[in-house]
């Protein structure tokens, strides 16, 4: 792409950016975050908070950097006296009616009003003796609460509903200092993507009831991950507090989900905290499953594989990582293998209609594309006359014990033990997406990494590790210690992933080669 570059100087730092870039974005290139509230890269520009005022040499007055385009030779000052004073002043204006109820505010710790006030060393208000505006909190929707007193009228929420959700149920009502974010009493903020207004709100005015008073945000650990709700593969943060997943939030990726995630994905985290877990390998002995160490269980699996020939059938969860799916295939490389994955589809997408290419997709699993690339199909309808049957993952909904009974040997690898799996010969405790590193491939063939956010309970280990250990036991491979090694092994074996490496996937992922031919034989 040939883009015309414009050279400018921001606080003495020379940067070159494409023509049409705004000063606020150009400043990021210079390593400067110009304080702002109403501006958000994913929304139309409003230019109303006036926080991002900067000095542009030659301009008669300060300019808002969010709405000013770069120009050749422009000299921009961000931290000079005049513009710093203007920003301090905006903060003082914003704070005169702000309740300063930070001790009980959910946003505290990730509040842009707090942060910029701290940055500008704004310690005092001259708004003495006057009462603050007071309006009661309201329910905007099933999960979104509006605490009017904290609102700074940046209108990000209104613009999101107008232009991204294209369901304008929020408005600015009244005017002057009586203005507030309002709704019509007959409407509700329950659009399938409405929860994004909570993330967009720079202060604690729009908050999630689900997260209300659950944690102080500074107690949270944030881990980069991928939503498992559908094939869109929205990039997310898993926020954990002492090993408990308490919140999922979108993580910006311009190529996948911009800045957003849907409410269904956002609320889909409780299963990650499930207490009903397999904590140790189990081996069938005398008609019942008996807890064992990993060595014993893996040896038992190796023994089954070694002692069998002919047909093998595997059924993997749609949430299985590419790495686990790859090593599972490798494990049965010498069999006539029927590899299936469990798919779930729902009729109709729920798009974020104002944003191109973003929807809660019909395919409600995160790695259907990866599974297909690795030679799995979603046409499982039972097992008959197989020597080995292996289930990876927990999605046994709709599967009856009869469907599983047609194999000589049955190995179950998962996190919980469903009724249908109780007659397994070996059960291996696996990890959830939140407990391991790995990759998924989304519907647009983008390979994306997720990272471990919490420790697996008991002796749970990633499935790819277990399969690699069995292969080592069988003398067909070396130990694989990290997801990176697992991925790189896959990349050198499977055509579609050729040339990729775990480390270069980065935070935003990489697309599979266009000419990918799927699994290599």
């Amino acid at each position: 792409m040939s883009e015309e570059l414009v050279k400018l100087t921001i606080e003495g730092v020379e940067v070159s950016v494409p023509r049409g870039t705004t000063v606020i974005e150009a400043a990021k290139e210079a390593g400067i975050n110009i304080p702002h509230y109403c501006y958000h890269k994913g929304l139309p520009i409003a230019g109303v908070c006036r926080m991002c005022l900067v000095q542009i040499e030659g301009a008669p007055k300060l300019q808002i950097s969010c709405a000013t385009e770069v120009a050749e030779g422009q000299v921009v000052r961000v931290f000079g006296e005049e513009e710093s004073k203007a920003r301090s002043s905006v903060l003082e204006f914003l704070l005169i009616n702000h309740p300063l109820d930070c001790p009980i505010c959910d946003q505290s710790g990730e509040c842009e009003l707090q942060d910029f006030t701290f940055d500008e060393r704004q310690g005092q208000s001259r708004y003495n003796d006057f009462p603050k505006r007071y309006d009661p909190a309201e329910q905007f929707g099933d999960d979104v609460m509006f605490v009017a007193n904290r609102c700074i009228l940046c209108t990000r929420c209104v613009r999101f509903m107008d232009h991204a959700a294209e369901e304008p149920v929020l408005n600015v009502s009244e005017r002057g200092d009586r203005a507030f974010i309002g709704m019509h009493p007959d409407a509700e903020l329950n659009h399938p993507w409405a929860g994004n207004v909570v993330d967009l709100c720079p202060v604690g005015s729009l908050i999630s009831k689900d997260f209300l008073h659950k944690a102080r945000v500074w107690e949270l650990d944030h881990t980069d991950s991928i939503c498992t709700g559908c094939s869109q593969g929205c990039n997310i943060h898993i926020d954990t507090r002492e090993e408990l997943v308490v919140r999922l939030r979108p993580r910006a990726n311009e190529d996948v989900n911009k800045f957003f995630m849907c409410d269904e994905g956002r609320s889909n985290y409780r299963w990650l905290n499930s207490g009903d877990r397999i904590e140790a390998p189990l081996v069938a002995e005398g008609g019942s499953l008996v807890a064992s160490g990993w060595d014993h269980a893996l040896a038992r699996v190796a023994q089954i594989v070694k002692g069998s020939t002919g047909d093998a059938v595997v059924l993997a969860s749609g949430k299985s990582s590419n790495e686990s799916l790859f090593f599972l295939r490798e494990l049965f490389g010498e069999f006539d293998l029927k590899a299936h994955f469990r798919n779930f589809t729902v009729d109709g997408e729920l798009p974020l209609s104002g944003v191109e290419g973003l929807a809660l997709r019909e395919e409600r699993i995160p790695n259907g594309t990866g599974a297909r690339q690795l030679g799995y199909d979603d046409s499982f309808n039972g097992v008959s006359n197989a020597s080995i049957f292996l289930i990876l993952g927990d999605d046994l909904e709709g599967i009856t014990p009869e469907m599983l009974s047609g194999a000589k040997n049955f190995i179950y690898v998962g996190t919980t033990l469903p009724e249908a799996a109780r007659n397994a010969d070996v059960v291996l405790p696996a990890t959830t997406v939140a407990e391991e590193d790995g990759t998924y491939v989304n519907r647009d063939n983008r390979v994306q990494r997720f990272s471990q956010a919490r420790t697996a309970p008991g002796m749970g280990r990633p499935a790819w590790w277990a399969f690699a250990e069995v292969l080592k036991e069988l003398g067909r491979g070396d130990a694989v210690d990290t997801a990176a090694e697992a991925f790189d092994a896959m990349a050198s074996n499977v055509g579609a992933f050729n040339g990729m490496s775990y480390s270069t996937l980065g935070k935003n992922g990489q697309k599979l080669a266009e000419s990918s031919a799927g699994v290599s034989k």
Binding site: K61, R126, D177
Partner: protein
């Protein structure tokens, strides 16, 4: 004429010639008085030639900004692949100003004729006349005149037989001062909150409905037929002082004068003569204290400054103020300046659209401090605070409403500091109980 008073020989009656003459309101009456000749003439010319005449006349926007009208028209794109619009700003809301009201009440066809010429010059088939909602009578009169103009073929698909399509509609406002700001007015026509838009884009590039748009004040457009009829040279020659200000100006005089009303004078007329001669001077036993010469958004003049002020764009700037909309507010020596400045600040706080932080919060905060001073609870720190807030409310927002609130505060404190001090020291009895 000095409506509602008799015309004074010192006036130069052009736009106001028929103020008070009900006969001028009807289509026939207007034609009898020479109406629609200018439109006929214009329709026989090239649109650019019409714009050139207006350019040469030196006509400048009468709404407040004083931008050259012909130049504004010339910014409109020449290609006509998209609809072009003309908006007539009849949202007259600047405190102290009531001239457009009289133009519409008495000479509605003058405005229609001016709009039609403007439409033709900029290639706009549609003109919306945005009249403030409170102007119920002007709306009725204008609507009747529009109906008559359509009935007589002045407007419509074949305007005056020219083959040109000229449509004109009234859009009624509903109580919002800020809709007098050009982009807020466009939002209001579009069915939105009257929020001023960030510029660029400027209206000539993307205005009403995203299309190239020109917006002119009532008085500006009403002057255009006279310029077409009598020539650019005649108009540009109408000047008593600065060459950069030409034509006549309707001045709305209100407050403490014996004969408040609209007076039309040649540009460059002395403010002193306006107040003492045309308006009959101060009420019995009173003396002049202060004047706001261009609507409430311009700096207040002291008596001495006012008596030396020349009423044109340059003269007002020289006096430290602005001609603005030509709304002359006169205060006599009985006026409590602190109280009136609070009233003006309250006006702006009430009218702030709520978009920009400084304006939304600053206007309301300013009122509270002024009320505190008037309640006898103010301190000298409050004065510094008012000035500091005013500084931060100036030049930092999308439109100038915030600046306009700061203007009377700063000029009031600077020029009438003793009145503030009297409340603060307790020398003056508090007039408010809250604050």
């Amino acid at each position: 004429m000095g409506y509602p008073h008799k015309s004074d020989p010192k006036e130069n009656v052009v736009l106001s010639e028929y103020f008070g003459d009900a006969g001028a309101r009807t289509y026939d009456g207007w034609v009898e008085r020479g109406g629609y000749k200018a439109l006929k003439t214009a329709l026989g010319m090239e649109p650019n030639a019409v714009t050139d005449i207006v350019k040469q006349s030196g006509l400048r926007g009468r709404g407040g900004a004083g931008f050259p009208t012909g130049l504004k028209w010339s910014f409109m794109p020449k290609e006509k692949t998209r609809a072009h619009y003309l908006c007539c700003n009849a949202d007259e809301s600047e405190p102290g100003t009531f001239k457009d009201r009289e133009i519409m009440r008495w000479t509605p066809h003058a405005l229609i004729e001016g709009c039609a010429i403007g439409q033709y010059a900029i290639g706009a088939e549609v003109c919306y006349i945005y009249i403030r909602g409170e102007f119920t009578e002007p709306i009725k009169v204008m609507q009747a005149a529009l109906d008559a103009a359509y009935a007589n073929g002045v407007l419509g698909d074949n305007a005056m037989g020219s083959g040109k399509k000229l449509d004109m509609y009234i859009h009624r406002g509903a109580g919002a001062y800020i809709c007098g700001e050009e982009t807020a007015l466009m939002n209001s026509i579009e069915g939105r909150r009257g929020n001023p838009r960030i510029k660029p884009p400027f209206p000539a590039a993307a205005g009403l409905f995203g299309m190239p748009t020109t917006i002119n004040n009532v008085e500006t457009l009403a002057a255009v037929p006279h310029i077409i009829n009598r020539g650019a040279e005649w108009y540009s020659g109408l000047s008593l002082a600065s060459e950069k200000s030409s034509g006549t100006k309707l001045l709305s005089v209100c407050g403490n004068v014996r004969k408040p009303g609209n007076y039309e004078v040649t540009m460059g007329f002395p403010l002193k003569e306006l107040i003492y001669d045309l308006c009959g001077g101060m009420p019995e036993g009173r003396t002049l204290k202060a004047v706001i010469p261009g609507g409430s958004s311009v700096p207040i003049l002291t008596r001495e400054e006012a008596e030396g002020c020349i009423l044109d764009y340059e003269g007002c700037v020289a006096a430290g103020t602005m001609l603005g909309s030509g709304g002359v507010i006169v205060f006599d020596d009985s006026v409590d300046m602190v109280y009136q400045i609070m009233r003006l600040a309250k006006f702006y706080a009430h009218e702030s659209c709520a978009q920009c932080t400084q304006c939304r919060e600053g206007t309301a905060w300013t009122v509270r401090i002024l009320e505190r001073i008037l309640a006898g609870k103010g301190t000298q720190d409050d004065i510094d605070l008012l000035l500091d807030l005013a500084d931060q409310m100036t030049g930092k927002t999308i439109c100038v409403l915030s600046d306009s609130c700061a203007v009377p505060v700063v000029s009031g404190i600077t020029k009438f500091r003793d009145e503030f001090d009297a409340y603060i020291s307790g020398a003056r009895e508090p007039v408010l109980t809250h604050g």
